[in-house]
Symmetry: C2
Subunit: 217 residues, 2 copies
DNA sequence: CCTACCGATCGGTAGG
DNA sequence: CCTACCGATCGGTAGG
């Protein structure tokens, strides 16, 4: 049975392989979902193969086989969180026109992503960025790249807004982008530390000062 | 001999005790110094009795005896960092008059404290706050209290500035304090993640926009 | 994915 | 009866 040749061995192998790959992909998603939530609260260092295995009723060696090393598990967790971030924060804003409209949409979806605790520890990248910002390596490199991408997206909207006359012509969009992200990140931090939603209103007030009033529609 | 009574048994006991207590206090300071540096880079969870002991060439049980438990070691590390923060950031500003002068002094000493890496992982409270903000317990409680104290100090200076006419009478000092701290914290974060001092200039530029130009003296 | 292990290290405690 | 340790070891868990 195991050695039967068919005209579409690829399909047979594919079926077997597919079954395993699908199972593996499901398990992988299961593990990464738990890993993202743990890391947002306790940090990527708190991920351990044994803990994930026992919490998900898998074998430790099975979890290990999916990722190959602890660092690969951490990197896969960062990539999985990047996908969540894209889906929750970035994608919903992309149907708004470039400029202040899209920037406000990004800000509101970011604040909702933090406030509604898409991750139980708040923004995944705030938590994990603070953990790894002084620890050189592939995890920090991945986080730094994500930071550049996010800043670039913000600055692009500010540049489009300036080109459209929504901001003063002499506005420094990099400086403005720094301040925009700073108040959002700090709202996340204070909200978590003091278990309080008020900082999100502080962030919104600061954004209005920086950008002008939010679009009414 | 062992039961000889003296007229100053207290002094004899005191001398012995003093010698041991001084030794213990020195060891304690040594351990806490290393613990603060480790925690600023890797987090309080990375502190272990065995690691501190081996790095400092002490016995693990000796380190344990100084603190009694890992949580007490973490709390003692937070208190030690609070003293460093007070000495490095707060105390140097207290000889300036209340209001914008003292606020600018606090901001400049804070930026220097972060930029010069008084702790190798940048601001201790940024790193450890992000680690524990979603982990209820005594460590988070201590960090939340420190956050309230720091915000209160900032808001007091802004209120004094407003009372002295240095700020508009209708300025919301809590809101302004939120924005002041946000840009400083984010400068720390970006500087560490991208190994770059430019974010400190971004923070200073933002502070000038929030507060007006820095005093020239 | 499994059981069965390894070298090491974890927080914490024993008697001296 | 105290402190500040020591060498050794407790029950468990880490990554692999």
């Amino acid at each position: 049975m195991s050695a039967v040749a068919t005209t579409d061995g690829a399909t047979t192998n594919g079926a077997t392989t597919d079954g395993r790959v699908l199972k593996g992909n499901e398990t992988r998603r299961l593990v990464l979902g738990r890993a993202m939530r743990i890391a947002s609260v306790e940090g990527l260092a708190a991920l351990s193969l044994g803990r994930l295995a026992s919490e998900l009723e898998l074998s430790k060696s099975g979890v290990f086989a999916l990722f190959g090393s602890k660092e690969e598990l951490q990197l896969a967790t960062v990539r999985a969180a990047s996908r969540v971030y894209h889906d929750q924060v970035i994608a919903p804003a992309l149907d708004r026109p470039e400029g202040l409209a899209r920037l406000w949409a990004l800000a509101e979806s970011w604040l909702a992503y933090s406030r509604t605790r898409v991750f139980p520890g708040g923004c995944f990248f705030y938590a994990v960025g603070a953990e790894f910002d002084a620890q050189p390596g592939r995890v920090r490199d991945a986080l730094a790249e994500g930071s550049r991408t996010w800043h670039g997206l913000i600055a692009d909207q500010l540049a489009a807004a300036r080109a459209a006359g929504e901001l003063d012509a002499d506005e420094d969009v990099e400086q403005l982008g720094f301040e925009v992200v700073a108040v959002m990140e700090y709202a996340n931090a204070l909200s978590l530390l003091h278990d309080d939603d008020a900082p999100y209103d502080r962030a919104r007030t600061a954004l209005r000062r920086l950008l002008g009033a939010a679009p009414t529609d």
